[in-house]
């Protein structure tokens, strides 16, 4: 954010894009690994998780940004956690009320958003230093980046483990599903290989 962009609009665009690729939370910063691995057995829970994270991220960034000038340094982290925990509870209640099936599939991984490093990291690194608009844009960028990554990973795993995407069959009949892909093994290895691929791609560019 210290970089001198030509216009304010330039800063906003820069912030938004940073979250999507250059500082992609999962691939580049290695943050928020638990949900990335745990909920990506299929695309639908991954998408739900991503949306919940966007909601919590935007709300907590708004609150933190609004009170950034009032924060006492040693109570800062406590305030962040309190804010995040509140919004996560609201998201959890919302899912339980309107998406009961998804809420059951995600189980404890919804409340675990509280300890998702992405959110507290963005509150600390961005929202507590910048004004409201930049914070919101940053939250949206990071959140969407996270969601997209989750969906890519989930897409690969769902495709290989069931031959379906979004519960619609896409693979030809001769395809034998790899059950292992929906187990923890599949999660770890797919993410490992994807990270490797991203490393390879970025290396080729620079």
């Amino acid at each position: 954010m210290t970089k001198n962009s030509d216009t304010t609009a330039g800063i906003y665009k820069e912030t938004l894009l940073a979250g999507l690729w250059r500082e992609n939370p999962v691939f580049r910063l290695l943050l928020g690994m638990c949900p990335t691995l745990a909920v990506t057995a299929a695309v639908k829970p991954a998408l739900t998780m991503g949306l919940s994270v966007i909601f919590v991220l935007v709300c907590s960034n708004i609150v933190v940004s609004l009170m950034r000038n009032l924060l006492k340094p040693h109570l800062r982290i406590l305030m962040f956690t309190l804010t995040i925990a509140t919004f996560v509870t609201i998201a959890d209640l919302f899912l339980k009320a309107f998406q009961p099936e998804m809420s059951e599939t995600l189980g404890p991984y919804v409340p675990l958003i509280i300890v998702n490093c992405i959110i507290i990291c963005r509150a600390e690194a961005c929202a507590s230093k910048n004004n409201l608009l930049v914070s919101i844009i940053d939250a949206v960028g990071m959140g969407v980046g996270f969601t997209l990554t989750l969906c890519v990973l989930a897409g690969v795993r769902e495709l290989l483990s069931t031959g379906m995407i979004f519960e619609a069959k896409v693979m030809p009949d001769w395809f034998v599903p790899w059950a292992a892909m929906s187990m923890p093994v599949g999660a770890f290895i797919t993410l490992g290989l994807l990270l490797g691929l991203v490393n390879k791609l970025t290396k080729g560019k620079s």
Binding site: L75, L82, I90, F94, A97, F98, P100
Partner: protein
Amino acid sequence: MSKIKYFVQQSWLLIVSSFCFGLLLAIANAAWSPIIEQNRINKLNVLAGRLIPKAKDFVPLEELGVEIKVKLLKGEKKKVDVYKAVTGDECFGWTFNAVGPGFQDKIELIIAVDKDFKTIAGFDVLASNESPGTGDKIKEEDFRTQFKAKPAAKLEVIKSGEARDNKILAISGATISSEAVVKIINHYVKEVKEEMQRKGLIGNDKEQ
């Protein structure tokens, strides 16, 4: 006095925002908890309704003033949620929730039996964490239909052959998961039956 002032100065934001967050949570909870409760009841009713299609309502036994406590597979005694499946005044059977250890995690089932506890009407899986591809086939129709109209006595798992009488054909590659389900059903059907006979909710075998 200055200490108190210092304390307030440092933490007023924390206190004020705690109040705000608390209020926010209370509002969200008040607005959505009836829906959550309704969802839970709906889910049970839908599952139970699939097992005993003739019944319209599932009345928890607590509403009839009875509490059923049985020994769990783990050893201690605990309350079991038993529901009476009724349409109007006619009773069509009973459903109850059961839980026991599976291959990896515990398996939660909903079991339905007919009104005399003579035959099993079926079961469904409420929650499980069996291995995908093999163990989680316990949720599938093929395996579950085997239990329909089986005698509510000791069921047996076989690995090959025909699933007649009290025999259940195990899922190939998931014998342990199949056995776990049968074990849970055997245990709960027996225990709940005995307990309900003791409470006089259903007749004794000998009398009939």
